[in-house]
């Protein structure tokens, strides 16, 4: 019964994973860089209700974690590397993001309008 139970559970997990669809719509492309633990530009703008693809280039030697609570993003970017971040379609507003390893300086905003 344990094995059956375990199989049932694994089956449910696999089934759920297969149900996961990826709806690919047109994305708004944005880019951003990090230098001396600061974002540049500090404010970026995007249209409302459109999925966003944000490219973040880390020009510093040290790694940074790009993080945002309202955007629900948490991504480590190695020193000198570049990362692509997918953001869901948003309603108009001002969304804060920051570098988790240097929160004192690395702060920026995404303005959706």
């Amino acid at each position: 019964m344990t094995m059956f139970g375990a199989k049932l559970f694994v089956g449910a997990v696999v089934g759920a994973a297969l149900l996961v669809g990826s709806a690919l719509a047109e994305d708004a492309g944005l880019s951003l860089s990090i230098q001396d633990h600061r974002f540049s530009p500090v404010e970026i703008r995007a249209p409302a209700n459109t999925a966003i693809t944000l490219t973040v280039k880390n020009l510093d030697k040290s790694p940074e974690e790009f993080e945002s609570k309202p955007l629900r993003v948490e991504k480590v970017i190695a020193g000198g590397a570049e990362a692509t971040i997918h953001i869901r379609p948003l309603s108009p507003g001002k969304y804060r993001f920051f570098g988790d390893y240097h929160e004192a300086t690395a702060v920026g905003f995404l303005i959706v309008e």
Binding site: M1, T2, F4, G5, A6, L8, F9, V10, A12, V13, A16, V20, G21, S22, A23, A25, A51, D60, K61, S62, P63, E64, E65, K69, P70, R72, V73, E74, K75, V76, I77, A78, G79, G80, A81, E82, A83, T84, I85, H86, R88, P89, D100, Y101, A104
Partner: protein
């Protein structure tokens, strides 16, 4: 120095709580400590590897490698916790009865200790990789010198202290009750990990459905505060969860509860029937 301490402590506390729970769950069973210690060790080695290959991992799979890696690692932990709970439902009773006579429990318990070892390893792997990257970043940028490193290691030490406090807090519960308490803890833990995994799938853009925010309690209890972090790890609290996270959370808990019910032996089995054959 204080900043580094707080950042490292914040990361370590998640893994620390999980290690504490795993230790309490396998309390008093000889040999179980090795599995947990092995899990921690494997997690540390894995974390260093992940940190070392962070760039490659991040670039893998069209820039989604990091998210998909995190999601799979969390999925693995959820499956292991579910397995453990189901196993406990079958054998918890014997284990509680024979806690003093540990020989037999060990013989039948090895598999589930492996599962817990994996859960611990995976937790250390995820949080450890972030800590390693953070400390490495400070080392190479040389911005703040030795006291930041000292702060980082103090944070590490405090995190370890949390696992011991969790463990000692849990083991004050009498053994018979302990299994009931830990199985609830493990179920909630699994739900929370599943919700985190769902968030990574959304972040990777693999899943786009159910992205609306369920609630926003970030003004009342932000989940990056200390208490928020603890609740985040223990019961999967999130201050701005997506609908998909909610679904993953509830579905995982239901799946584990139902599977555990199905796997539990009839209320009063005789000792000879429940003899483990595995």
């Amino acid at each position: 120095m204080l900043g580094a301490l707080i950042i490292v402590f914040r990361e370590v506390i998640e893994a620390g709580l999980i290690v504490g729970i795993a230790l309490a769950v396998t309390r008093g069973v000889r040999g179980s400590r090795q599995w947990i210690a092995g899990g921690v060790l494997a997690g540390v080695v894995g974390a260093l590897l992940v940190a070392g290959f962070a760039e490659q991992l991040s670039a893998a799979m069209a820039g989604r490698g990091q998210e998909l890696f995190n999601a799979s690692v969390l999925g693995l932990a959820v499956a292991m916790l579910a397995w453990h709970n189901v196993w406990m439902a079958r054998h918890g009773r014997e284990l509680a009865r024979e806690l003093s006579d540990v020989g037999r429990a060990v013989a039948s318990g090895d598999k589930t200790f492996l599962a817990l070892g994996v859960v611990v390893g995976v937790a250390v792997l995820r949080e450890g990789a972030e800590v390693a990257l953070f400390l490495y970043g400070i080392l190479i940028s040389g911005e703040s010198g030795l006291d930041v490193i000292v702060g980082g290691f103090a944070g590490l030490g405090l995190g370890a202290l949390v696992s011991f406090l969790t463990f000692y807090g849990l083991v004050t519960i009498p053994p018979r009750r302990l299994f009931a308490v830990t199985s609830v803890l493990v179920t909630l833990l699994a739900g929370g990990l599943a919700a985190q995994g769902a968030a990574f799938l959304q972040q990777a853009g693999v899943v786009t459905a159910l992205s609306q925010t369920l609630w926003d309690t970030s003004a009342i209890l932000p989940d990056n505060s200390l208490f928020g972090r603890v609740l985040h790890t223990l019961i999967g609290y999130s201050d701005q969860p997506s609908a998909l996270q909610g679904v993953a959370y509830v579905a995982t808990i239901l799946a584990i509860v139902v599977t555990t019910k199905f796997s539990a032996p009839p209320p009063r089995p005789t000792a000879s029937i429940s003899a483990p054959a595995e």
